[in-house]
Symmetry: C2
Amino acid sequence: MSEATSAVIPGSTALFTDKYELTMLEAALADGSGDRPCVFEVFARRLPSGRRYGVVAGTGRLIDALATFTFGESELASVSRFLAPGTVEWLRNFRFSGDIDGYREGDFYFPGSPILSVSGTFAECVLLETLVLSIFNHDSAVASAAARMVSVADGRTLIEMGSRRTHEEAAVAATRAAYLAGFDSTSNLEAARRFGIPAAGTAAHAFTLLHTTSAGRDEASAFRSQVETLGVDTTLLVDTYDITAGVNTAIEVAGPGLGAVRIDSGDLGVLARQVRRQLDGLGANRTKIVMSGDLDEYGIAGLRAEPVDAYGVGTSVVTGSGAPTAGMVYKLVEVAGIPVEKRSAAKESRGGAKKAVRYARRSGTLVEEVVYPADLDRVPDGDGSVVHDLMVPLVRDGDPVGGLPTLEESRRFLSRGMVSLPWEGMTLSAGDPAIPTRFVRAR
Amino acid sequence: MSEATSAVIPGSTALFTDKYELTMLEAALADGSGDRPCVFEVFARRLPSGRRYGVVAGTGRLIDALATFTFGESELASVSRFLAPGTVEWLRNFRFSGDIDGYREGDFYFPGSPILSVSGTFAECVLLETLVLSIFNHDSAVASAAARMVSVADGRTLIEMGSRRTHEEAAVAATRAAYLAGFDSTSNLEAARRFGIPAAGTAAHAFTLLHTTSAGRDEASAFRSQVETLGVDTTLLVDTYDITAGVNTAIEVAGPGLGAVRIDSGDLGVLARQVRRQLDGLGANRTKIVMSGDLDEYGIAGLRAEPVDAYGVGTSVVTGSGAPTAGMVYKLVEVAGIPVEKRSAAKESRGGAKKAVRYARRSGTLVEEVVYPADLDRVPDGDGSVVHDLMVPLVRDGDPVGGLPTLEESRRFLSRGMVSLPWEGMTLSAGDPAIPTRFVRAR
């Protein structure tokens, strides 16, 4: 009973996979190459146009998804339509037993950063490609956009309210990524249940319109009902009809102790000042102003000088603010110790398993990232006096390592990390990555 | 056992919901307005910049999701943290019992088209808002972009392979929407299982790289292995190293009966001609050419004159080709028979429940869409001799009506519909909607 009505618990994540991973598996098992030890790496060839940094997100979700990446009867029945019986038997016993290392969730990444390194046999590593990329491309796109919004909001409250603008399950993951990046709360109840993220929200225009009678509109009744049920600390939405009248009515009904008013349309900058003056004039000095309505990082920046206490952000955060996917790829870089790489126009990858460090000044400001061959006997010198290791163990022999950070810990990690970016890297304007990356080639 | 390992079956969809739907519910139940009969409508205020038409998608998924939109113990426990016991009890017994009418899945929509009309009590209708919009905003964004690709592909095969570029569950819904719009197959195995969509795909560059030995690269071994396991009808990926050498090797290994070659990088137009000549010269006249690599509708259009047999499309289709969300809203338009609408700057909605028809010439070409008050006693006259009703019953008393179209039927409906657009509406160039929409106001 409780199972039938419980959350969307992924039974098996194994079919979130492109067909060709399984046909490659079949051919590799047949010719014996499936057992060759391999290293695959996840990286982005570039950042979205003009962006200064990306934020790694999805690691925690990948660890969870890996636990159910197994083939049950239903999955086996489905793939047996195009696979040979021997391959199906192999899948029946499949469980990823390799190692995964990667950047910490909530860390920055730049073009070519080896965000994740997956090692094991070809057979077991190739199967993970699609799921790994789905998770990282989605979550990192959202977190990267959200971090810019958090940065420019400069300590003011950010509420994620974009669930309705994206797929219902993607919305839950987007909320997680936005929270990781520093958003304060979400409208999404499933994200609140699944990840413990604080939920927020009070009323829409529909609630005010609902109180229309044959005698006409009745904003006061709507506000009175909301305050009676949700308390005087609630947020009243004041722009269904006339905003000035709406604010007056709100304070008449709730008194000067009203929690907040929300404005969802119009020239938000002008309205913020006007409504602040009006509230102060009514003695509601502590009533906050929440702004929403197609805000993105630029809209938030435009309101920096205005008396806004909180921003509600929807479409722009869940769609990565113009970059809905992070452009990460999952590439085979090493086979049986031999570096491999594709060699056709434009899409070059760099062969060989890699590690990465970042150099910083003593002040903490980052200077450069250095990516180097994993078998180098020492960390290359860099331009900076403090060196940070970027890759940490995540999975050993198929099991998550102990002590992986919680979502809250990763959120704090990013928050601390933000102050280490050089100031040019924090600007919203388009430009080069915040720090350069140097690639040390194999000897 | 089979349950633990089966597909991601949503237990309850009820928490894919914004918190404010439930706080509004609580206030409306407390003041008695929760029982007022209401009509909510879904519409898009505008199409994405320059687009000529949108494609309605998500209806079938909504019908499925509605069946599990109920609150079990886990959901109740979660919402009881902020709701009063009376509201929680109300939710325990909740089941949507209203009516839903809407445009057919696979039909076009234009700015202001009343795509969905949900009627029932305020309490039951308001709860559906977030889920309805998540489904329609995502699925319609993908289908609208996909339809342009199908249109410009002009009968050539389109393979959806974008799963890795979007959230893993969104990928399954995106595949469904792309197939609805006329794509031929998908890489996504979960979509194949869940919706019966044909799956496609053979090998990635990793498979070729895997066959590297200490003696160096060995493309021939990789091709041989693939042909032995998957048959001569397979598609060999020929651009891992040198394309001309790759094509020669492919035909040497597979013979002139090889199914296809795939090219994933480079100047695709030049390569298509060059590889076609090469294949023909090798006697492989029937070996097809599959092109992939960051294709969108414009890239496909650019290859129209080239000898390409199939396109693999990834990022652009699953992200709506620049418009990852359809911008649809869910607005209260009528309360107890009284038309209602928000009256603040820019975001005006049109009050009152509506219906819609489309007028066409006898030839079938659409001329205009007319949206009119639902209580009008007859369909308004229009510019055209044939009239099509656009809204059909979908749900009655909470249950799906009988005979709702299958995904295949909706796919054929759209395919037939495409020939009814005026030719200006079919161009990729930016411009006005393909047909104008006229809004007949209430008397």
